[in-house]
């Protein structure tokens, strides 16, 4: 009997202790947390407010991930503090793969101090990550996930500053047909969500405009010889070869075209094939090749960012990938919204109501930044302006006639 009384006392004592741990901060917790759908992210005094990012930091596409995270890191430096709390960028390696995207999402979602995600970087990796963040109520702002269906999945948390593949494909098809006057093109892609999505749009739009798509094929990514595929396409003599995919395969295709009977056809890439690596590795073969890019027009903000980037990393902005400005913008939008909704509790802990942040990010209106005004629509498309087309001239990218 005595033992059980002792036990009872012990349990009560333990409960009081436990509630002290949990309830003492609850004393400082603002009301908004209780009413918020996802509750609050609690950042204890002395810690940083973390902006997560899932990016390919190693592997074939590492230059994209490293560059975008560096752009976002510049934004973090510029953002200052919220209620005395500093921001911090936590970039995790996805290797660009869907599996990596899901793993990183699960890791970031369990960190209570991660309030928002500036990413992910690739469409496949993003698609795998969206359900995880949806459940946790963590808003995303992707600088570069451009696959069109991503905003049709009904996700409340996913937004992007990148223009979609659908928009880019439409502009590209129009440019090929109206501006360059081509009537017969071949369309290639790398079989990935991004490349094939883009290729499908170009094929459909070009046909709609009245042109003829004489070949539509996929190449196996990672190979270094596509002469067989190109030779077969050459038989139907297309005026241009549109390619949806990344720079590694774009380089091989461009180099192989001249020896495959396509010496007179124009290589027309996408924003995935844009960058200095394309020019470096295609050399003379790359002359006259087109690509699309989201490199923003010159402005005071861009000049300031470019200088900061150069000072911090020793390379010019945009030499690694064209997404670095979008990386800056997506992180900047997220941090501005965190500042709007964050509440400092009476206990010195910073509370960020997750549901309110999700709504605030989706409700972004006229946020002025490097890539232009960012205004999100109902499904999370925050940049509906088209791409800029570039052409290789004299061994470097130059803005093509618009």
């Amino acid at each position: 009997m005595k033992k059980s009384v002792l036990f009872f006392v012990f349990v009560v004592f333990a409960m009081v202790l436990a509630s002290c741990n949990g309830a003492a901060p609850a004393g400082g917790e603002p009301e908004v947390c209780a009413s918020d759908e996802f509750g609050c992210a609690k950042i204890p005094a002395g810690q940083t407010v973390k902006i997560g990012m899932g990016a390919p930091l190693t592997g074939d596409y590492a230059s994209f991930g490293v560059d975008i995270s560096q752009g976002a890191a510049v934004a973090v430096k510029d953002a200052g503090t919220v209620e005395g709390f500093a921001f911090e960028l936590v970039a995790q390696d996805t290797q660009g793969a869907p599996e990596g995207g899901a793993a990183v999402a699960n890791k970031l979602a369990t960190d209570p101090t991660v309030v928002a995600i500036a990413g992910h970087i690739f469409s496949g990796s993003t698609e795998a990550a969206i359900p995880v963040y949806d459940k946790a109520g963590i808003p995303m702002m992707s600088p570069s996930a451009t696959n069109p269906p991503l905003t049709t999945l009904g996700s409340k948390v996913f937004n992007r500053v990148a223009f979609t593949d659908a928009v880019q494909g439409k502009f590209a098809a129009d440019y090929l047909y109206s501006k360059l006057g081509f009537r017969k093109i071949a369309v290639l892609h790398d079989g990935g969500a991004y490349g094939q999505g883009l290729a499908d749009v170009v094929r459909d739009e070009f046909t709609k405009l009245g042109g003829e798509v004489v070949g539509y094929e996929a190449v196996t990514p990672g190979e270094t010889d596509y002469t067989a595929t190109l030779s077969a396409l050459a038989a139907s003599s297309p005026e241009a070869v549109y390619f949806g995919g990344y720079v590694a395969e774009g380089v091989v295709l461009t180099n192989n075209m001249k020896q495959s009977g396509l010496e007179n056809a124009v290589f027309f890439g996408c924003d995935g094939t844009f960058g200095t690596e394309f020019v470096e590795k295609t050399g003379a073969n790359g002359e006259g090749a087109y690509a699309a890019s989201l490199i923003p027009p010159e402005s005071a903000e861009k000049a300031k960012f470019d200088a900061d980037y150069l000072a911090a990393y020793g390379v010019g902005a945009g030499t690694l990938s064209p997404y670095t400005w979008s990386g800056y913008d997506s992180a900047a939008v997220l941090m501005a919204k965190v500042k709007e909704v964050a509440v400092l509790g009476s206990d010195g802990t910073l509370y960020v109501p997750r549901g309110a942040l999700v709504a605030a990010v989706r409700g972004t209106q006229g946020f002025s930044s490097i890539t232009g005004d960012i205004t999100c629509d109902a499904v999370g498309e925050c940049n509906t302006a088209g791409p800029t087309f570039y052409i290789v001239k004299g061994g470097d990218w130059a803005q093509a006639e618009q």
Binding site: A62, A228, A235
Partner: protein, 368 residues
């Protein structure tokens, strides 16, 4: 159970299996011919396209063949698949690359007093040294691979060295990534061997380019293959290799140092893979630490196609696979994306209808 099996024979008699196989093979062949004729009737491709496809197939086939010989040599002697062979080729690719890089950096005065890189001033020496470096370093890695990963497991069951080989392959890939970085590099060729240009042939009103790098690779792989054949058939080392392949114990009794012959086999197969690696770099340009994986798998397929353990079989298998990959989809009128599906379908068919490969395993009896 035994009695039951005797009563109800579940297997068909040997003869009828053979007849069914032949009938099935003929039907399949007829189907392919009908499809090919159907496609040909639509005449989508002209002579120029066929020539381009065949040339591209021959060039890649030559490289497959060189790598496949390595698989076959090792299998012939040790009855194991050296799955790290593709990585040996990768090491060779890097070896040649660094020689070209170094020679490109050295400036010399040309005959007319102008400054140009050593690479373009003495291209023949540069190419020779690149191949020498690539083959030597690949041969050395083959040698150490055998010493470290396979020799301690010589007496173990056959599955054990296979697992060790897969481990070695993963180790070498990751070591390559750590040492040389994950980024793609590009071979700097001497101007005389520039990629993408070559002899222009006018065929069916269109220009077919026979690239210098491609023809160079094709000729060099032919020379190396003939050289290897002579080595195996005509020299003392070759005879010793064949003896060890036939019967290790008896060969040892005849005074052959079996361990040494096995080491030398790895050196030879490594050197061939290294040569294929340098060719791969010169012809295709782009590569990174992962370059050996796909060719390794394809060459293994080629070795099995031709009959593993059989050297002419590996050569034939490599060429056959290269041609099928580039010409096959056009003949059957299917997407080029399906070339790997086609190649592996053919592998399965060959294994069904001729389990020992096209030319047959040279030493089938001893293996079992």
């Amino acid at each position: 159970m035994e009695a039951l099996r005797k009563k109800f024979s579940l297997t068909l008699p040997q003869n009828s299996i053979r007849i069914i196989r032949i009938i099935a093979a003929l039907l399949l062949l007829a189907l392919i011919i009908v499809r090919a004729m159907d496609v040909a009737a639509k005449s989508q491709f002209g002579a120029d396209t066929w020539l381009r496809l065949s040339v591209s197939g021959l060039i890649i086939g030559g490289m497959y063949a060189l790598i496949a010989i390595g698989y076959t040599l090792v299998y012939g002697i040790l009855f194991m698949i050296n799955f790290a062979h593709g990585e040996v080729m990768m090491i060779g690719t890097f070896g040649g690359y660094f020689v070209f890089e170094a020679f490109n950096a050295i400036q010399v005065s040309g005959a007319d007093g102008s400054q140009l890189s050593f690479l373009n001033a003495y291209p023949v020496i540069a190419i020779l040294l690149a191949f020498l470096a690539g083959m030597t370093i690949a041969a050395l890695s083959g040698l150490f691979l055998e010493k470290i990963a396979y020799r301690p497991l010589r007496g173990a069951p056959r599955l054990v060295p296979l697992i060790s080989a897969i481990g070695a392959s993963i180790f070498l890939q990751n070591a390559g990534q750590l040492l040389f970085g994950p980024q793609r590099r590009q071979y700097i060729n001497p101007v005389v061997l520039d990629r993408g240009i070559g002899w222009n042939l006018e065929v069916a009103g269109s220009t077919v380019v026979l690239t210098y790098t491609g023809i160079f690779s094709l000729i060099l792989s032919a020379i190396l293959m003939v050289g290897l054949y002579l080595l195996v058939q005509r020299t003392k080392l070759g005879r010793a290799m064949r003896a060890v392949a036939q019967d290790k114990k008896t060969a040892a009794l005849m005074g052959i140092n079996v361990d040494q012959i096995i080491s030398r086999t790895f050196v030879i197969s490594g050197a061939l893979a290294g040569a294929a690696g340098v060719m791969w770099g010169i012809h295709n340009g782009l590569f990174n630490y992962f370059v050996g994986f796909l060719p390794g798998i394809k060459a293994f397929t080629a070795a099995v196609l031709g009959g593993i353990g059989n050297i002419p079989g590996a050569m034939l298998g490599g060429m056959f696979l290269g041609i099928v990959e580039s010409v096959g989809p056009a003949v059957l009128g299917i997407d080029f994306q399906l070339k790997d599906v086609l190649a592996f379908t053919i592998l399965i068919l060959v294994l069904i209808f001729r389990p020992s490969g096209i030319l047959g395993e040279a030493l089938t009896e001893e293996k079992v």
